[in-house]
Point group: C2
Chain length 138, copies 2
């Protein structure tokens, strides 16, 4: 369990000024590795922070991504999702329930960037699709 103190320090590492809102969002991301959407983050935080606006959540995550503190994922047809884990790992998306899971135990070679004369490639995103444990029974 990460504390507010941890999130505060993490933000400083990425030279992000730690406001109350920013710390709360980072705190949520560190403790909820569920690749949440803006809405999920917002709904989780408003109860304890009634004046929080969704615009601030948008601003905050844009800033985090820009500073490299979180990864923005394009996995979902509808929403952007955010991931605090910026290490090499893949994602699995369930076609039925839409939940996103991490896949860590993959050969490093899958993440190797190809050398290409036309493009300078600096990142890779690997996504697997299928049905998760609960959904595959139905």
């Amino acid at each position: 369990m990460y504390t507010t103190h941890d999130s505060h320090n993490y933000l400083k590492q990425y030279s992000i000024k730690p406001s109350v809102q920013r710390t709360a969002v980072m705190d949520y991301l560190m403790n909820n590795r569920t690749h949440p959407t803006i809405d999920e983050i917002y709904l989780a935080l408003v109860p304890n922070m009634p004046t929080l606006s969704k615009t601030t959540v948008y601003n905050t995550l844009d800033l985090f991504v820009e500073k490299g503190a979180v990864r923005s994922l394009i996995l979902d047809e509808k929403n952007s999702r955010y991931d605090i884990d910026i290490s090499a790992h893949a994602h699995f998306i369930c076609r039925s329930c839409g939940k996103v899971h991490d896949i860590f135990n993959l050969e490093a070679s899958k993440f190797q960037l190809p050398i290409n004369s036309k493009f300078s490639i600096d990142a890779v995103e690997i996504s697997y699709m299928g049905f998760c444990e609960e959904c595959k029974q139905n």
Copy 2:
């Protein structure tokens, strides 16, 4: 250059009834391998088909995807993109201009689906990010 006749036959292979609109959309996809958005397809076709509605383009592509005739790609923050090439290949997205290019010459192992006890995985999408030839100079 594919003709209307080719698209017509291609649709029939996937047991899609070839209406005028569907043939036009398929024709466009076969001849423009640019991973177009709904809007790009619509704007390309309206001039020669003034009564075409965007709803029909949406319906048509939903049907194509459902029947397995085209792949829908989640590459773009905003729009869905469609790809007539359903073979194993990766995509490169330029961070600057947003254009999507195909990458074909990758080892087959990259497309191998992992065996996972929790999920039944049936597809993979590999996307590379970086800067394209024109954009990397700036």
